[in-house]
Symmetry: C2
Subunit: 532 residues, 2 copies
């Protein structure tokens, strides 16, 4: 049975995840009391009449609930606007094409008629990638959910082709039935789709080992106003610049991906994992950096800083015995600022996990065994649900991520902390900032930040804007990227030029203009639409 | 002391490599006698007066020898035209900038004044990438040889920045002095440059393990008419499409690379290598395919087909005892069509080499120990010199390479063989076709072909064109790429659209036009200039 997505929140209506009282107490003792946001309620919206649309092929819905359900993604401003019933930009219709040919017909008709298309996979963008833009033209959201499933499998080459709208569980389900796996497991895994992953350069929990999605994409099929663009799978080439890489990260602006061919590997059953407690961030950081010097890499490598470790400790409910042991451990002076590392791998690399544990001990870490790791594995897709609960408890929360070379990461982490604290002081609010290192590479790693603040309902957007702006400024000044795996969307579009330079922006605009002369494909993502 | 490059042939004047008589006998018995090409001689050329140039900054040479020495690369038509003194397109000058700023000034002045620039690294292109194009405008070759050396090293991140004109030995020399290595070793290693590698998406003998150059490039600096484009090193990002990847394979058409930051690894001393004889191509092929299922990969993996193994056997001079053993081996019926595999690795993976040998034995192979491998390692950079000797002995010879998924490679290899044999029959000449698999990936591999034919001096270009065209047709029809690591250059430019589609071509043209509006940067590579 098809599960129902929650309106104005994460995931499915059949699942609700509440933080334990200890976590809320910790937030309240750090941040004070905030003003809870109301739950989102479709009844509170009065939608404007849809603009008249040309006849479009395939199923197209224009009812209010469809227009409301597909109007935006899961960013903080998206959720805030939905919960306060202040969202104003609705699609005039939602299209549900069932084939590449139907998408192509839609794209071509829309280009001729000046209809804006917003392609949408799982709708989980946290950077405004699927939020309906302000545009005087009619806007149609193109949901790719019916372009789903395994289309072909080349077992000898380890290549699998999926419809772009295939969500994570269906991807792995179809592969596992054939003895393969992709191993791409972003936190949005249960909702997001393979096409969305490719379009946004997604990373998953196992990316340190299996690679980011752009490393896994071997071929693509794209619908464009000029027709079908098919780039078949190739292991490598020197036939000019790699155009498959241009489509990864194109966020729907350079065409609508309708199918994706990915590199898959034989299924692996020997997953091993371990948690290690390091007395300090610096010791854990060095362990991670050194681990990436030689292959095989771990699949999962995730080092929480002291604040995140402490917060996580309050998030996990455990039996009283485990709690006593845990609390005793953190009470030891040496571990009072402890940082938790999770490391895991499968296949041949899985056999190395225990030796990594020994190496961690040599570098000052305390291996905690596999229980904490396994628990995290089981719980990880539930964590995004917590955000809704925090918003309903008066705490604002958002996340952002960046990446930089190893040598720059300490400065970058410090710059973000300082920048956010300055912004919070300006706003006269306290904040709680958590950070983990994940997605490590031989030459650097990603830092993932979570920040909480006490909500003032009338000022919530203003509060968020101040904090968000400070984080981007700090990242760009410290040489980080505006995003490691969330993408650019509309939220980071105005900042991209500072990272890629005026020539980079010029290159992207030239590509968009060449492939989509009418400018109908997801305008506003990557770079502001008015600059096009 | 600076060594002198050979005019109209490979490498340095202080080195000459002659094939052993056995190899020439084998060619003669297979192909009959051909007409030897004369050696190239600068005295035979009468250069047209150079066009008048605007004043350009930095050292600029306009003498005949410079214009002659920098007029083309090392493709078969290049060498043929030089040896027969029929080359007609000479630069009006050769510029030798010493800094990014000088390159930038050159590019900006040339763009204003309508002067065509042909950027040049080691000048080893075998696909016309550095051959002076037909163009009514003045043409200046921009030699990057003085932008050489290590500019900075970030040891903690394993990132090294080099001037674009740094040749292979200097790259590894500077890194090794600091305890690092890049491991990028194309056959042109002694001559080609890090900027040239990046611009052409080069691969090296160790690419199966260390990756192609586009995997190793973390950052670039580019000179453009609009100014400097700098993309600093990042381990990964989701900030839109990866523009560093657009510059890899741009072949000078999207800007002149002036420095390149690459991912380097700690130096490794434990290199292990092994040669294995497989009774058939199919058995060796399966061994390679399976080896790439799990990391760590070997660095070197190179499987010669029976014809190449047989030819190689005649190419290597060995002591009489070794020769007796070898000949005995090949006389055994089971090894009469034997295929030689070379496999090698260093670091942790080096420890796996002996277990790979055992696995090869289990799959029907006969491990021959490390001697043959070590010999190949020592001799490999001399092999390109042999081409000159073959041309001087009456045998035409050229190479090309492609890549495809594992499942398509058998059909592709057969299509190339059939296509070339048909073309040879049409030309009424015999050919000898050798092939090896190298640069393997989990999802496929590269096939590298060498073909010999008996030269008719007056028809040599016509003969080559017939064979070359047949190889490209076969590759494209069988789903291979027009090049795995030689690049597109001017030679494959007319074929690229069939691989990347009209939209791919449109995308490249849009990029070129946006970044180089005057169309002065290496026109004719990637796509024909008249289409721009």
């Amino acid at each position: 049975m098809k599960r129902t997505r929650r309106f104005g929140g994460w995931g499915f209506t059949d699942t609700k995840v509440l933080p334990p009282p200890a976590a809320l107490s910790l937030l309240e003792s750090t941040l004070g009391k905030g003003e809870a946001l109301p739950e989102a309620s479709p009844e509170l919206f009065r939608l404007p009449k849809p603009q008249k649309l040309p006849r479009l092929s395939g199923e197209v819905k224009t009812d209010g609930l469809a227009r409301l359900s597909y109007c935006c993604g899961q960013s903080f401003p998206d959720l805030l606007s939905l919960r306060t019933a202040s969202w104003r930009r609705f699609p005039d219709a939602v299209a549900f094409p069932v084939s590449h040919e139907e998408v192509l017909a839609l794209v071509q008709r829309a280009s001729e008629q000046g209809v804006v298309l917003v392609p949408r996979g799982g709708g989980t963008s946290v950077v405004g990638g699927v939020s309906v833009p302000e545009d005087p033209r009619p806007v149609v959201v193109v949901s790719l959910e019916r372009l789903s499933g395994l289309k072909s499998l080349d077992g000898r080459s380890g290549l699998a082709t999926f419809g772009a709208g295939t969500p994570g569980p269906e991807v792995e389900g179809a592969l596992s039935a054939n003895g393969f796996r992709l191993g791409h497991e972003p936190q949005s895994f249960e909702l997001s789709t393979i096409g969305g992953w490719a379009a946004t350069r997604s990373a998953g929990h196992r990316s340190t080992g299996v690679g980011k999605i752009e490393d896994l994409v071997a071929g693509v099929e794209v619908a464009l106003p000029s027709g079908t663009w098919r780039l078949g799978p190739l292991p490598a080439s020197a036939a000019g610049p790699e155009l498959r890489k241009i489509l990864c990260g194109s966020e729907g602006r350079l065409g609508i991906l309708t199918s994706v061919t990915v590199r898959v590997q034989p299924q692996s059953v020997q997953e091993q994992g371990l948690a290690v407690l390091f007395p300090s961030w610096e010791e854990g950081f060095e362990f991670c950096r050194k681990l990436l010097r030689e292959e095989p890499f771990p699949e999962v490598l995730r080092l929480s800083d002291a604040a995140e470790t402490e917060f996580g400790r309050h998030l996990v409910t455990a039996g009283w015995a485990a709690t006593v042991v845990r609390d005793f451990l953190f009470s030891i002076r040496r571990f009072s600022r402890a940082c938790l590392l999770l490391v895991g791998a499968s296949g041949k690399a899985g056999k190395l996990v225990s030796s990594w544990g020994r190496e961690a001990r040599r570098l000052g870490g305390l291996p905690l065994g596999s229980g904490v790791y396994r628990r995290w594995l089981q719980e990880r897709f539930k964590h995004p649900y917590l955000r809704d609960a925090f918003l309903s408890s008066g705490f604002g929360v958002d996340t952002f991520e960046t990446a930089a070379p190893w040598s720059q990461l300490p400065r970058l982490k410090e710059a973000v902390r300082a920048g956010l604290e300055r912004a919070a002081a300006t706003l006269s609010i306290p904040i709680l900032l958590l950070c983990h290192l994940s997605h490590a590479y031989p030459d650097g790693a990603s830092l993932y930040f979570t920040f909480f603040w006490p909500l003032r309902r009338e000022e919530a957007l203003f509060q968020w804007q101040g904090l968000k702006r400070a984080s981007l400024e700090a990242i760009l000044q410290a040489g980080g990227t505006v995003s490691h795996h969330h993408g650019v969307g509309r939220m980071h579009a105005a900042y991209l030029e500072r990272e890629i330079g005026p020539q980079g922006l010029q290159a992207l605009k030239a590509l968009a203009h060449a492939l989509d002369p009418a400018g109908i494909l997801n305008p506003g993502v990557l770079f502001p639409a008015e600059q096009a």
